[in-house]
Symmetry: C2
Subunit: 145 residues, 2 copies
DNA sequence: ATAATAAAAGATATTTTTGTCTTTTATTAT
DNA sequence: ATAATAAAAGACAAAAATATCTTTTATTAT
């Protein structure tokens, strides 16, 4: 088991790729995205449709259409993508899966697990969708395989 | 999506419960465990069978039988349970699900995600199976719902 | 030895996640 | 207006995770 679902992994990779291409002035078709982030094209399409419906990514149909990010969207935190796709369980859930685990009624792992959750929350809130554009353009980072 | 699989959550809760009862000198039947940690009994049985096969938990069949931990097992880290049940992806996997992500070929989240993984690894390696026995006996912690 | 107990093992079922295919709708260029 | 393009939507399929049921095996107490 990975931390994020496949769906969420694909979403994050796609978002970084589209952000980079947006930064370079392009819109990107679903095929190009899927190829570059190594994901199943029709499945990724579903994911991006969902993000699009929620206004997290922009898209236009037709020739020269595709997905892109406007400036406002580029500045959104990655956390918004994760929440849209996987919900907020990762930010708030109990490590042992206990619904009623809380400060006043803690599970054994509560205190230590809170640190993990906080780290994840910090990571996702402090990473904007466009944060890695330059790094990606310069080939500093990988997004496929 | 939670951090750990349902299977793993049940395993961790069960292990803490059995440890506590072991500490009090009892063996515990699968029904009692399932009731106290609020998990489906036959499914939990499968999980404990697996842990038993790997020698992580002790069991005896027949009257007065059940699951328990010997002293050596009580001192094992929770990480061993997680690994047995969910594998080691949570300790080593890339946040974006990239197989070839590494120090030399990092994904955009690599550095930040490493901190998350380290926190999880630390938590699971520094939590022994028997660590919360007294806290559980004194009612300081919850394991059900 | 026998009966009762409880885990182990095997087979099966359901649900969720992941993945695919087809049709429709919107946009653009001609 | 028409044809070409590309996303949106809907229906469907496969795989994995979760859950259940039945039979077998080992142990204990009588």
């Amino acid at each position: 088991m990975a931390i994020f679902s496949k769906t969420c992994e694909y979403a994050m990779r796609a978002v970084f790729y589209v952000a980079q291409r947006s930064h370079e002035g392009y819109r990107v078709g679903i095929r190009e995205i899927a190829e570059h982030i190594n994901s199943p094209e029709p499945f990724l399409a579903k994911i991006l449709q969902k993000l699009s419906r929620e206004g997290l990514i922009q898209s236009v149909k037709g020739p020269n259409g595709g997905f892109y990010f406007d400036t406002a969207s580029l500045n959104r935190p990655l956390a918004d993508i994760v929440t849209a796709v996987d919900g907020d369980e990762i930010f708030t859930g109990c490590g042992l899966g206990l619904t009623y685990c809380s400060e006043s009624n803690p599970c054994p792992l509560h205190d230590e697990f809170k640190k993990v959750r906080n780290q994840i929350t910090h990571m996702l809130n402090n990473t904007s969708i466009g944060k890695f554009n330059m790094g990606l353009i310069k080939g500093k980072f990988t997004l496929n395989k």
